[in-house]
Amino acid sequence: MSSRMIPGTTPTVISKNSLIQWLDQIASQMRLIAPRDIDGNILYRQVGNAAEITWDYTRPVLSIKDVFFPPTEVLFTIEKIGNEVNIRETSPEGEQVLFGVRPCDAHGLQALDALFIATQPIDPYYMRRRENTTLVGLACPEMGATCFCTTMGGAPDDPRHMDLMLHAIEDVYLLEVVTEKGAFLLERYPLVIEPGIQPNTYIRPEITTERLAYPALDSWPEQFNQLYWEEIAERCLSCRACAYVCPTCRCFDVRDEIQSEQGDNKVYERIRCWDSCAGEAYRRIAGGHNPRAAKGERLRNRFYCKYYYFPQQYGPAACTGCGRCIDVCPAGVDITEILHFMAGIAMVEKQAQVEVGRI
C-alpha cells in the first residue's frame, strides 16, 4: 500500500492471500495472537504464522480479556535477603497484534478501559498491554444462537473499539481503518493490494436474534429483594465459568507466592489472579463472617454488577451480549432470561417451535 490510509475513509478490498502474507509478516516480527484450534477448543493464543490461525469460528471459548488482563499476572517480584526487601515491578511485554477479534470482545474492552484506565488510579499493567496491542477485528459471519450483542448496542460487524476491521465477502476482505493506531500498523507492515479485485456487494451479517428487552436502569433497585433471585439461583452451582469466559468480569485476588527460598534469601511473587463473585468464599472476611453467604445473593450480585453497579461506578454496562455465559453454564442459567424478567416481559417460549418431542 503506497499511500497512507486514513481512518474513516472508504474501505479497501484485499485478497485472502495478501491478508495471510500480511499476518505472516507481522508474526515474524512480533507477537501475533489469533484464534487457534487447541485440542478442539478455539482460543486466542500466540501463533507462529498465519497457517496456525483458525478461520472457521463463531466466537472463541474465552474472550480477548485475558490478553489484557491475564488469569494470573505477576505484579511484583519481591526479594527478601535477610531484612532487606526489594520490590521490583514486573516489566511490560512487547508490542503485539491481536487478530480475529469479534466486535463483542472489543466492546468488552470499553468496559475494562472505563475501569482500569478512565477511573483513577490507572492500572499500569492493563494500560501497558492496551497500549501495546493493536486490534484487528473480523466481522462475524452471522450471529450465534446465544448472541445478543445487538441488545447491548453492538452488532456482528461493529467496527467501533477496533483499530482495523475486516469484513469477509466471499473470498476477499473489506478492510476498514478505524484508528490512527491501525493506520500506523499498516504503515509499518504494508498490505499488498492486488489489482483487479473488485468489491462485491457487501452484505451485512444476518441479525438473527431479534433485540431482547433491556430493562431501564432504575428498574434494578426496585427488584433487589425479589424472591426471583433465590429461584434462579437454585440451579446455580456457584462455579466461576460464567465470570471467566465473560469479556468484562474482572474481579481479582492478590496474594504472594514463593518463587524460591534459599536460606535467608527469598524471592516471592505478588500475583493477581482472576476471581469471581460466584465463589462461596468471595466475600468471607478473616473473622469468618460472610456477607454474601447465600448463592442467590451472589448470583444477584453478578447481574446487578453487570447492568447496574458497573454503570453507576464506571459508566458502561459490563455486558456485551456475547452470550458465552449462556453457553458455558452447566446448569442452564440464562442471562437473557434475567434481562426479560427485569424488563417485566415474559420470555416467549421457543418450546412451541419444537417440531418433535414437545409434550
Binding site: 485440542d39 478442539g40 444462537a145 437454585e234 418431542g357 414437545r358
Partner: protein
C-alpha cells in the same frame, strides 16, 4: 554423576528408629536421602506427596510400621490403601511408577532399612532426573488440532416411552406435593430456548414444567445436600423437609455414596427413578430445532450397563430386560486403554497440554455430586497444597495439575461415573479419563464399584481380611 533428591517420610514409631538402628550398626546408607519424621505413615497424605514432587523431588519413599504394629492401630492401613492408588494415578499422569515407594520397616530392622533405601536410590538414580515440576519459562506445549468430537446439534428427541415417562413423572410429582410427602421435587424442565436444565418444583400446579427426555444430563443428586439443609428442619410439626429427586441409573449410584457418607438419611429423600435410554452427547446449541431420528449418546451411556436405577422409591418406566445400550464402542478419538498404553512421557505431555487449558473455574468440582466439602482443600486461603495461580503456557500448571489429580484421588472409590465434571468443563478437558482410570483401579484392587451398594470407598476403611498389602 547424577544424584537424585529423595525425600523419605519416616514414621517416628518404627522406621525413623529403624534408620537410627541402621546408623548405629554403621550400615551404609546413601546420602541422597532427606528424611521427614512423621507421627504415622497415615499422616503422609497424597497432597503431601504430590507437593513433594511439585517441589522437585526425584523420588518419594514412605516407610511405616508393619501392618498390625501401628501405634495408632490402623493408621498404616490407610497408607497401605492410599499409596498404591495414588501411585496408579501419578503413573497415569506421567510419573514413572518406581519414583514412589511404600514399604514397612520396624524399629529393629536397621538392615532392612538400609537395603530398601539403597535399592530405592539406585532405582531412582537409574531413571535419571524426574520430569514432573513444570517451569513456566520452559513449558512449550505442542498444540494439536484435535479431530472434532462427534457431537450432534441440539435436538429434541422423543419416542412413546419418553412421553409416557414424562406424564407419569408429572403425576408422581403432583401426588407427592399434593399429599405433602415432599416439600420439593428436583427434576428437569426446558428453558425458553428448548434446552433442558434442572428445576425445583414446590407446588403441585407447577409439576407440568417437568420433562423427561434424552437431554436430561445433569446429575441432580448434587443439589440434595444443599436443598435439604436449606429447607426448614422437620420436627416442628408443620413442615416437611423431605425432598424428591429425579434420578437416572448413574445418578442413583451417587445416592448410595451420599448415604454411605451420611450426607443425609434415606428417609429425607424420595427417589424418583427413571429407566434410561441413554443421554445424548453435550449438545452444540445452535438455536435451531433439529429432527434427527437417533441421538448420539454420551460415552458413559454407551458403556452403561444399568438401565434402571439401583435405588428408588418409584421406578418410572422399566428397561431392566433391555440389553445395555451398546458395548465397547467409543465416540472418543482416544480411548482410555490407548491413553494407558502410551509411555509415561507421552502421558505427561498429554495431561500437561490438557491441564494447561484449565481456567480453574471449578465447574467440574461444583457440578460433582461427590465434591461437597464446605471449603475445598485446594481453595482455602491458607492452603499449603496449592497456590492460586492459573493461566496458560505453563502459568500455574503445577497448581492446576495438583488440583485435578487431587480431586480425582479424593473421588477414588466414590466417583460413580456420571461425567458431570467433564460436561461442565468449558475448556473441554477430558477429566473423566482420570476418574475412569481410578474406578478401574478400585475395581481391580478392591473389587469395589462406587455406589452399587451403600458402602463407603475402601480408601477410608481399614484393611479387611481379603485386602492384601501390596
Amino acid at each position: 554423576m547424577y544424584e537424585p533428591k529423595i525425600i523419605a517420610f519416616l514414621c517416628t514409631w518404627c522406621s525413623y528408629t529403624g534408620a537410627d538402628t541402621a546408623g548405629i550398626a554403621r550400615l551404609k546408607s546413601p546420602a541422597n536421602l532427606r528424611t521427614v519424621r512423621v507421627p504415622c505413615s497415615g499422616r503422609v497424605s497424597p497432597e503431601l506427596i504430590m507437593r513433594t514432587f511439585d517441589q522437585g523431588a526425584d523420588g518419594v519413599l514412605v516407610l511405616g510400621c508393619h501392618i498390625g504394629e501401628c501405634h495408632y492401630d490402623s493408621g498404616n492401613h490407610r497408607t497401605a490403601k492410599r499409596l498404591p492408588v495414588l501411585k496408579t494415578l501419578l503413573t497415569f499422569a506421567g510419573l514413572e511408577e518406581e519414583r514412589l515407594r511404600l514399604d514397612w520397616v520396624s524399629a529393629s530392622e536397621g538392615e532392612h532399612f538400609s537395603r530398601i533405601v539403597t535399592d530405592f536410590v539406585d532405582t531412582v538414580r537409574a531413571l535419571g532426573p524426574v520430569r514432573w515440576r513444570v517451569d513456566r519459562r520452559e513449558f512449550n506445549p505442542s498444540y494439536q488440532r484435535a479431530p472434532a468430537l462427534q457431537s450432534s446439534p441440539h435436538a429434541s428427541f422423543s419416542n412413546a416411552t419418553l412421553e409416557q415417562q414424562t406424564l407419569q413423572l408429572r403425576q408422581t410429582a403432583q401426588e407427592l406435593l399434593d399429599s405433602g410427602q415432599v416439600a420439593c421435587v428436583i427434576g428437569y424442565e426446558q428453558d425458553w430456548r428448548g434446552r433442558t436444565r434442572p428445576t425445583f418444583v414446590y407446588h403441585p400446579e407447577d409439576t407440568s414444567r417437568l420433562v423427561w427426555n434424552q437431554d436430561c444430563t445433569h446429575n441432580l443428586t448434587g443439589y440434595l445436600n444443599h436443598k435439604l439443609h436449606q429447607l426448614p428442619q422437620a420436627g416442628d410439626g408443620q413442615t416437611n423437609n423431605r425432598v424428591a429427586v429425579v434420578v437416572k441409573a448413574c445418578d442413583s449410584r451417587a445416592i448410595h455414596v451420599q448415604l454411605a457418607e451420611k450426607s443425609y438419611t434415606r428417609d429425607q429423600v424420595y427417589i424418583i427413578g427413571m429407566a434410561c435410554q441413554g443421554i445424548q452427547e453435550k449438545a452444540r446449541y445452535d438455536g435451531k430445532v433439529h429432527t434427527q431420528q437417533e441421538p448420539v449418546l454420551q460415552q458413559r451411556c454407551i458403556q452403561c450397563t444399568d438401565r434402571n436405577p439401583v435405588i428408588s422409591d418409584i421406578l418410572i418406566g422399566d428397561l431392566k430386560k433391555e440389553a445395555p445400550i451398546s458395548t465397547g464402542l467409543s465416540n472418543r478419538s482416544l480411548t482410555l486403554t490407548q491413553l494407558e498404553a502410551k509411555t509415561p512421557s507421552e502421558r505427561m505431555d498429554f495431561w500437561l497440554s490438557q491441564f494447561d487449558r484449565c481456567i480453574r473455574c471449578y465447574a467440574c468440582r461444583q457440578a460433582c455430586p461427590m465434591c461437597d466439602c464446605p471449603t475445598c482443600l485446594y481453595e482455602r486461603d491458607d492452603s499449603l497444597w496449592v497456590g492460586a495461580a492459573h493461566g496458560w503456557d505453563g502459568v500455574g500448571l503445577n497448581e492446576k495439575r495438583t488440583f485435578h489429580l487431587g480431586r480425582a484421588y479424593h473421588l477414588a472409590g466414590r466417583c460413580i461415573g456420571c461425567d458431570e465434571c467433564e460436561r461442565a468443563c468449558p475448556m473441554g478437558i477430558p477429566i473423566s479419563y482420570l476418574n475412569q482410570m481410578l474406578s478401574q483401579e478400585m475395581e481391580r484392587s478392591y473389587n469395589h464399584r462406587a455406589g452399587v451398594t451403600i458402602i463407603p470407598t475402601p480408601l477410608v476403611t481399614i484393611l479387611s481380611g481379603e485386602e492384601g498389602v501390596q
